[in-house]
Amino acid sequence: MLQYPQKISLCGFGGQGIILTAVMLGTAAVTKGGLYAVQTQSYGSEARGGQCQAELIIDKSPINSPVAEKKNLLVAMFQTAYEKYITTLSPDGVLVIDPQLVTDLSVPVEHTFAIPATQIAVDLGNRMAANMVVLGFLSECLGILQENDLIDVVKTQVNPRFVELNIKAVQAGIAYAKEHDLYYHG
């Protein structure tokens, strides 16, 4: 069983859809999973390219403090973001990386999951869907949501032109977790 609260941080660079991933995971947890969630973010003033981080706390009961000093789960989608935020991961936490974009793991973390989200998205025809691969992967990895619930959320939050691509990307992320048996029970 997953322990609560789960304190999750996703980081990368502006334009990757980091915040949207956290918003959609939170939306699914609250509106489909009957859970409580708080999502905050920080980002540079640049529209694209600056560092970007989203925090998501998920719990079974209402959440008091909206900021967590240490996270259970850190998703790093870019090298410089990894370097900036790795200190916020608690020592027994889990690190999720895109191995193409985070290549130098200067701080080794015992539980590290590598998911080639960007390559999977490129194979699906659009690298911009990497965040949805991560969304599917996280959802399966945490085991708190049903696939159809997640897809319902994608349908309501994504531009209709990209719904099909995004659903494929979410499914590919789920499949990757299953194939490689990457489950998180912390």
Binding site: V23, T27, Y36, A37, N64, P66
Partner: protein, 389 residues
């Protein structure tokens, strides 16, 4: 431009977005306003309040309301005054620096007793915006004699709930009401449950039954507020910032304006029991109390739990509104604990009110932070541990 009163909107129930949402704080505030029957918004852009204007510009046309982007803050607040006097339920949103510019129009609304709601998403400058540095500005920013009502939500749910409360207070007391928000909760997404329309209690201002010839626009019982007649319906009224008598005529007679200001202040001061709300957490056996407001309540509750785990009996008194000061609740706490911690996201402001009301019954320690971020629970706990050794 035709103004529609909320109670005239046929499809009002349909406007209420009933259900469970994962919503941005600024959006939740807008939904609270829509649920309260808000049908006029005028505002000027400013971070971190922009999502309020953005969503209002989408939602108001759906409910038959009007959205106006003013050329500045002053224009916006005066537009509220006009729309309110025509019978609309009105709101604007701004942030600290923008609130500065609104003082003249806000002062006008206090004096002419126009119900308006202002959301101040307080901010500092720099990388992070969060602060409660302006708590005194919300009370004393305008010139003249008046009383402010300021409600302080601590969550996305309360941004919704308290905005409805703000509209109800504005209508009931014919007074401006400020919803004090800040960057953390405004830009945070959280679970929000919007009830069905029939469960939402609304208070609409009392309309006059007098004929235009007999109507006294500022005639009211002691500590009460006058019945309302909308502009454009044959009730010719001067709404002046100057001292005015019951008929609305500008009147320099000291007796007249003393009577006016006594009532304008008295209608709030003498109804504090009806206006003020507080919530207590773990106070039953508390030896120490945190007294706080707004989003700082959240880490404060966690800090009290941490303190209890290490054997220090701490409780939390949350002030749901800071103006008027919930004096009874603070005084009661001061009589029951050995020390009060005033936790604030500024350099120590409202601690002055808490100290005043505590009246020497117990010492009050100021726990401050002004770094653009709310306190962490560990920071508050450390301050408590230091002071309870």
């Amino acid at each position: 431009m035709s103004i529609i009163r909320a109670n005239q909107l046929d499809a009002w129930e349909k406007c209420v977005d009933t259900g469970v949402h994962f919503m941005l704080g600024n959006y939740a505030l807008v939904e609270g306003a829509i649920s309260a029957g808000c049908n006029f918004f005028a505002g000027y852009p400013i971070t971190p309040a922009n999502e309020i204007s953005e969503r209002m510009s989408q939602r108001l046309p759906q409910v038959g309301g009007k959205f106006v982007q003013g050329e500045d803050e002053l224009c916006s607040v005066f537009a509220l005054a006009g729309a309110s006097l025509a019978g609309a339920k009105v709101m604007t949103a701004t942030a600290s620096a923008g609130f500065n510019y609104m003082q003249e129009g806000l002062g006008y609304c206090y004096t002419i007793e126009a119900p308006i709601v202002i959301a101040d998403v307080m901010r500092t400058r720099g990388d992070n915006f969060a602060t409660y540095a302006d708590v005194y500005q919300l009370r004393y920013g305008c010139s003249g004699d008046y009383e402010a009502i300021v409600v302080c939500p601590a969550s996305v749910q309360e941004l919704y709930d308290y905005t409805i409360w703000a509209f109800n207070l504005a209508e009931k007391y014919r007074n401006p009401v400020i919803v004090m928000s800040e960057a953390t909760i405004a830009l945070m997404r959280e679970r929000l449950e919007i009830p069905t329309a029939e469960k939402i209690e609304l208070f609409n201002r009392k309309y006059t039954t007098a004929a235009p010839a007999d109507y006294l626009p500022f005639g009211a019982p002691e500590n009460g507020c006058p019945d309302f007649a909308p502009l454009g319906k044959g009730y010719k009224t001067i709404y002046s910032l100057n001292p005015h008598n019951e008929k609305g005529g500008i009147d320099w007679d000291p007796d007249e304006f003393e009577r006016l200001y006594k009532r304008v202040c008295g209608k709030i001061r003498e109804n504090e029991d009806d206006i003020c709300r507080t919530e207590s957490f773990m106070m039953d056996d508390a030896e120490y109390a945190i007294v706080t407001y707004g989003s700082e309540t959240r880490p404060s509750i966690e800090a009290a739990q941490m303190a209890r785990e290490s054997g220090i009996k701490v409780g939390v008194l949350k002030l749901c509104n800071i103006w008027p000061v919930p004096e009874k609740a603070i005084r009661e706490v001061a009589g029951n604990v050995t020390k009060i911690f005033a936790v604030e996201m500024n350099m120590g402001r409202y601690v002055n009110e808490i100290t005043r009301v505590a009246g020497g019954k117990c010492p009050v320690v100021s726990v401050t932070k002004n770094r653009g971020q709310i306190h962490t629970s560990a920071e508050i706990f450390r301050a408590i541990r230091e002071e309870t050794k």
